[in-house]
Subunit: 388 residues, 2 copies
């Protein structure tokens, strides 16, 4: 995997996860030179302190890095939380030699607990000492942001002479130990902050905004992008935009696939709508139906659930506009059920970790691809007991 030039990374154990000695819980990303920076954040009205701090500071053209902690979301923590998030950036800035405002910050973990700030006083300097530009350092940072994820999610793309690389964690509020989807994208291409902002917003729309585990929007969702290339900013941004979009889609797909307790990655394609927005409404509603997700867990080709979920998505259509496929099986055509072999259809769900639903309407060219996972008893068990 290629990494962009001029970035260094670290992942260390600072002590936030005191019950898991040695588990990485603090990540640092540093650009050796001032970088353009932009971000996209949770729409939750209850946004965590680090989200507020990043929003105050972005977009900007002189960012120097990001400090990230896992294990505590620093959400619902009022003024104390804001001051703690700013303190994290100040500690990192002191190590790197920049102003606190040049540092960004993200957190993930349990909501409603104050950060034990003393761990950062030694942890952040220790992290700064470990900064490196190799793959091992990049992966240590990618590891340190994880919570209930079982593996790191990283991706990289080459765009002409430039590299875009990124890492991400978690989806929605999938787990007991976390409350967030975080993504970080880094490039050595020269791009202005305002261009970065629109490129990132477009990329998030078809990637991180097209995954759902249970539809619970986190307080901490954050995607940040840094571009530290020197020289005149790129004029032709199309290729770069596509690379960022593909990279984000790869990371997002990795998140859905690694969702808590999940046995299946489910790709939902909706086509033939009046608009992409309509298609996304239908895809998201199907993706978030507990009945759809339970059926997939149970390898039950209960297509009535897929079709009925489409029906309450808030999009106007007639039953006769709708057809439905599951993998290679056409189950419902223009409002009428089709004969199919339930045993083979069930085997399709049982034998494939990645499964595919397709809903096609006859109203236009709007479409959406959406990722989700199945709902398993393990998900409920994992989420039934955390804070106590």
């Amino acid at each position: 995997m290629q990494l962009p030039k001029g970035f260094r990374f670290a992942g260390v154990h600072c002590g936030l996860r005191s019950s898991e000695p040695g588990r990485l819980d603090l990540a640092l990303i540093v650009s050796d030179m001032p970088a353009a920076a932009a971000g996209v954040f949770t729409q939750n009205r209850v946004a965590a302190a680090p989200v507020h701090v990043c929003k105050e500071r972005l977009p900007r053209n002189d960012a120097r890095g990001i400090v990230i902690c896992s294990g505590n979301a620093n959400a619902c923590t009022g003024e104390q939380g804001m001051s703690d998030a700013r303190r994290m950036t100040a500690l990192a800035a002191r190590e790197i030699g920049c102003t606190p405002e040049q540092m960004l910050v993200a957190s993930t973990g349990v909501i409603g607990r104050f950060l034990p700030m003393d761990v950062f006083e030694t942890g952040i300097p220790a992290g700064a000492k470990k900064l490196g530009s190799d793959l091992a350092a990049f992966e240590a940072a990618a590891t340190a942001i994880l919570t209930t994820d079982t593996r790191i999610k990283t991706a990289s793309r080459q765009v002409g002479p430039y590299v875009v690389a990124g890492f991400a964690k978690g989806a929605a509020m999938i787990g007991p130990n976390m409350a967030t989807m975080l993504g970080f994208v880094l490039t050595d291409a020269p791009i202005r902050a305002d261009d970065l902002q629109s490129i990132l917003r477009g990329a998030v729309e078809t990637s991180f905004n097209c995954i759902s585990v249970e539809g619970h929007t986190s307080t901490n969702d954050t995607v940040l992008i840094l571009a530290n290339g020197t020289g005149s900013p790129l004029a032709e941004l199309a290729a770069f935009s596509i690379a960022v979009k593909e990279l984000c889609e790869e990371l997002a797909r990795g998140i859905a696939s690694d969702a808590e307790g999940a046995n299946h990655l489910v790709t939902i394609d909706v086509a033939g709508c009046r608009s992409d927005a309509d298609a996304k409404k239908i895809a998201k509603t199907v993706a978030e139906s507990a009945l759809v997700k339970s059926a997939i867990y149970g390898a039950d080709p209960n297509w009535g659930r897929f079709v009925s979920a489409a029906g309450y998505a808030g999009v106007e259509f007639e039953e006769t506009d709708l057809s439905c496929w599951m993998g290679p099986f056409e189950l419902y055509r223009a409002g009428v059920p089709l004969p199919f072999d339930p045993k083979s259809a069930s085997a399709y769900l049982k034998d494939n970790r990645e499964v595919h639903l397709r809903l096609v309407l006859t109203l236009g060219i709007g479409k959406c691809r959406f990722y989700t996972c199945d709902l398993t008893p393990e998900y409920v068990r994992l989420n039934a007991d955390y804070t106590t």
Copy 2:
């Protein structure tokens, strides 16, 4: 329990649930004289055939009854389904001595299968022979509409010289064997169909529309009301409206309490919003969060989930506007977490089958009471395998 005069009821086994011999699967409700009738139906774009048939026929002032089957939803069945639903009413009408149009129809069960119509040819006449006006007949009808419900839901109110009684089943699409919430309300008061329609719509809004199991809107949701009183229609409808509203709320609460796999009935009160509609948005979002519901199952007072669900409900507010209680425990006040004893709070969830969440904002007088249940591994298991 008091029953309205001039109604007869039956519940029989017609053979729709052929794998469960003797299980009641066909209900009849008959008014001895023409009755005013009104209905409220699913908002799902994919509505079942019986819903379409009822909508064609309502409101009207000469209805004679309702025929209901459980085990098959007659949904996603195209023109064949429409003709089958009409045939059910024709068979019932022949027994009762009225036109098919005077009969209403409802179904609940698996989606996407054609009705085996032969079972009704003998089943409906057999049901007609069993019609009775006593409590046993009423309860047989209330039993015959059940699917995965573990108990009947019935309620009754006296309004002056009149009686309103009703029965209901299921909630949203809670179960593998069903796909519907059905409710039937019967009164011997003299009320015109258009008044019945507005009274029923108002009552449904704070009752059947304020419960959720997993938020999956069924294709078959139907609430019907019949009023067969003779003489001049009631002029003063306030007391009657309140009785219908209370009756519907009692039935709705019964549905949420008997949701599939549920261990807890959860009452969510939201107050202090700009409008009742805003309060309902927040209450519904909290009620439908898998993370909230898993936490309650696990007796985990993880209030960050309650608060963050409120934050993504689509209602504008600031964190500092929001406070949160769980039972007697105040957990979050004006955007700041409060100290509480997690052991006692967990014991509150563990020791009470009925638990209470309260979210209070500072923006107005809008409020909503909403009922839901917890999410259990049993729910997932029950819903994981049905049609195959």
